[in-house]
């Protein structure tokens, strides 16, 4: 049986009109429309377009959330195996709509989503992480090249075949790292690359150096006497026995633990869940990583207002930046809601 495809296009490619019709409301037709004809031909019967969604570019741009929800509702009953949007070439609003719908469909239905855009289309930067976007020329003159490439990629994904590198398959890099076995040992690949670099030959690094978010330190706290200070750590300190099973590496969660009335962490009460450092000394005395004892002293001496009655903890070891960001955002919300005014972050 052929795979079921839902196709998304704008009012222009549906033949409804140009800019004057760009506020066209979303609709769905049980038909193959516009560039869908070329897609259909490229599928050679292996997949069929069961419905086409049409939406005006301005309408989508002005009602993004509503239109997205509405279109998801329209698509649902067609039970698609894959979703294809565009190609949008260098049309900015169209590209953004294609990308947004691809991201929404992937999230909602977990099916492959494919679009086609010119690399400078703003939809690329916004949505390449979420969709397979075939690189196209900047105008509809490139339709004949774009459509077969999109169809080919869609069929590959539908059949569960392993995808090659972006340059081999023609899609725009999504930024997702995937393992593969090479023909040579990593050591030999490294020495090969080294020789190329020495000789001044061209070579392709296996991992371009990433660019990081840099967070500027906040200004110093002026009024320590009234500060409510929380302790947050990536050093894995948790109640003995690690009751929430925070992973020793690649943490999927953080813990929130009450320290009301606790003046000192001991080997009887606390330990570390962290698998990435010599934990002997943290297990002996967890204050070494999460200094509750010292903060209690400062509280008694009136140096700080008070120590927040909860601490937050996770394991930094091998934990992805995406997870770390998520933990950070959630912890900050809770701290702010609890009236915490300053945080001491400890690592290992």
């Amino acid at each position: 049986m052929a795979f079921r495809i839902v196709h998304y296009i704008n009012q222009f490619y549906a033949g409804i009109g140009g800019e004057e019709k760009a506020d066209y409301e979303p609709e769905i037709r049980e038909a193959v429309v516009g560039p869908g004809m070329a897609l259909k031909a490229a599928f050679k019967g292996e997949a069929e377009i069961v419905a086409t969604v049409i939406c005006g570019d301005s309408h989508f741009a002005s009602n993004m959330d509503d239109d997205t929800a509405k279109i998801l509702g329209m698509i649902r009953e067609y039970k698609p195996d894959a979703f294809i949007a565009g190609p949008a070439f260098n049309a900015g609003r169209y590209g953004t709509a294609c990308g947004a719908m691809c991201a929404a469909v992937a999230k909602e239905f977990g099916i492959p989503v494919i679009s086609g855009m010119y690399p400078e289309n703003p939809g690329v930067e916004m949505f390449r992480k979420y969709a397979w976007i075939i690189e196209t020329p900047d105008s509809a003159a490139g339709m004949r090249k774009a459509v077969p490439a999109m169809a080919k990629l869609a069929l590959k994904l539908l059949k569960g075949e392993t995808l090659g590198k972006p340059s081999e398959e023609g899609y725009i890099e999504r930024g997702i790292r995937k393992n593969m076995f090479y023909g040579k040992l990593a050591a030999q690949r490294c020495v090969d690359m080294f020789v190329s670099k020495l000789k001044g030959e061209t070579f392709e690094t296996e991992y371009p150096m990433p660019v990081f978010d840099r967070v500027d330190p906040q200004p110093a706290v002026k009024d320590m006497k009234h500060a409510v200070i929380a302790l947050v750590t990536s050093g894995g300190i948790c109640p003995k026995g690690n009751p929430d099973h925070i992973e020793a590496s690649s943490a999927s969660k953080f813990g929130e633990y009450d320290i009301t009335g606790v003046n000192d962490l001991t080997s009887e009460t606390h330990c570390t869940a962290h698998g990435g450092y010599d934990a002997t000394y943290a297990d002996q005395d967890a204050d070494r990583v999460l200094p509750v004892d010292v903060l209690r002293d400062l509280e008694r001496e009136g140096v700080i207002g008070k120590l927040h009655n909860k601490f937050y903890t996770t394991v930094g070891n091998g934990t992805s930046v995406a997870n770390a960001k998520r933990f950070g955002a959630e912890i900050v919300n809770r701290l702010v809601n609890d009236g915490v005014t300053a945080v001491i972050l400890t690592s290992t």
């Binding site: 972006p166 995937k178 076995f181 020495v191 296996e206």
Partner: protein
């Protein structure tokens, strides 16, 4: 300096009366090994020796170290100097190697940080040690409350002693093949191949405490300043592993003995470059140590007048900072670098892979994303303790299923993303 590696190719293992080698079969006297390792009062009474062969439905876990049996037939000193033999300079003479054979130290966990080796199935593709005929030591401490540093040392020494014992017991057999390495003095090296660039290797060693340590002639490497070593000393066991946390990218003693970067650089020496120096350095936890060691390693490379260096990292996260400092400081001295690392890009591969970076790191090879998840099917036999899958680095509560299958990140598999580049795994960007 001249070293001959006399190789006996081990194709099979069996227990028997007398430890020795004949026709590709290594016979192992179990009682002798048990007697040898029981000498250590730190090890308990319930010790065992087992065999794990390539292709068998066998899982070994948790694994601490992997060691290739070697024994010096002639020349100064003995294998693993400063650990189980006198502190004499090694790297000259003749050394017997039981190729295709390894000693695995397994058993009661030191801490939740050791690795998994499957001898068959999908997991076997990821670890180099599914292809070796393995003598497995199943160890436990004599006192369950023993200091973990002491227990780690006891396990480490038991493995080294067994590896040396096995090779020593085959010393009467003539080698199948002899490989000869002859390296000139530094003075001669500097004038050889004047038309070729002079290059070196910066060999980073993990040195962060319990299960993160490495030893050089018995010295805890966190206490050294970067120094120069001959590749031939490495082949005789001058560098010994004391680490296995996130076992995928920790250099086993086996991978030090067979360092594939050194092997490849020696092979291309005189053709693509003049390989004149190997510099060992550490990865300590404090910023001052990182600055000192990276400056010192780069300085040595500069003093030697090197045109380029290959730099291998050991571990991830914190040591990424050491890798980047070494890279940047060498490049600033005009020394070209190629880096060998691995990645922690998240289970979905969508996060950045390194914890530090610099624009100078233009040539970077990676041994794969260690966060990628794999399901290891049940095995007929497990040597060790499968329940540790729920707590080891790379596992989580529920990693071990009722049917005995284990779902973990690759980081739990010994040697899977070896940063000495001992596997063919790598990654690319989708």
């Amino acid at each position: 300096m001249k070293l001959e590696l006399h190789r006996l190719k081990v194709n099979s293992l069996k227990f028997g009366e007398k430890t020795g080698f004949a026709d590709g079969v290594l016979t192992v006297n179990k009682a002798e090994i048990l007697a040898l390792i029981s000498e250590d009062p730190l090890l308990g009474k319930n010790l065992d020796v087992d065999i794990a062969m390539p292709g068998e439905s066998v899982r070994v876990m948790p694994v601490k170290d992997v060691i290739e049996p070697r024994w010096k037939l002639s020349g100064k000193g003995q294998v693993f100097p400063g650990m189980i033999s006198d502190v004499e300079t090694v790297g000259e003479g003749q050394t017997l190697v039981l190729s295709g054979c390894a000693v695995l130290t397994a058993g009661k966990l030191v801490r939740f940080q050791e690795g998994i080796i499957d001898m068959s199935g999908p997991g076997a593709d990821y670890t180099p040690y599914s292809k070796t005929c393995n003598v497995v030591l199943v160890l436990e401490p004599s006192d369950p409350n023993m200091d973990k540093h002491d227990y780690e040392k006891a396990c480490r020494i038991a493995g080294l002693k067994t590896a040396a014992y096995l090779a020593k017991s085959c010393a009467d057999v003539k080698a199948d093949t002899v490989e000869t390495f002859e390296l000139p003095t530094m003075r001669e090296a500097m004038t050889q191949f004047p038309e070729l660039p002079k290059v070196g290797y910066i060999y980073m060693l993990q040195t962060q405490g319990l299960l993160h340590d490495t030893y050089l002639y018995g010295v805890d490497v966190k206490k050294i300043l970067p120094t120069i070593i001959s590749p031939l000393e490495v082949m005789d066991g001058a560098i010994v592993s004391g680490n296995c946390v996130s076992a995928c990218d920790k250099n086993s003693t086996y991978s030090h003995l067979n360092n594939p970067v050194i092997a490849d650089m020696l092979k291309r020496h005189g053709k693509d470059f003049n390989f004149v120096a190997t510099i060992v350095t550490n990865e300590n936890v404090t910023l001052a140590d990182k600055k000192r060691s990276s400056s010192y390693a780069a300085k040595l490379a500069g003093m030697l007048g090197l045109d380029g260096v290959v730099i291998t990292e050991e571990g991830f996260g914190n040591p990424d900072a050491d890798l980047i400092m070494n890279c940047r400081k060498c490049e600033q001295l005009g020394i070209k670098t190629a880096l060998l690392t691995d990645e922690y890009a998240g289970q979905d591969g969508a996060s950045q892979s390194l914890a530090d970076s610099c624009p100078e790191g233009t040539a970077c090879v990676t041994a794969g994303n260690a966060n990628e998840v794999i399901t290891l099917p049940p095995m007929s036999k497990v040597i060790g303790y499968p329940e540790e899958a729920n707590v080891i680095a790379g596992g989580w509560q529920g990693s071990l299923a009722d049917d005995g299958s284990i779902t973990v990140e690759l980081q739990a598999i010994t040697g899977a993303t070896s940063e000495l580049g001992y596997t063919k795994l790598g990654a690319y960007t989708l």
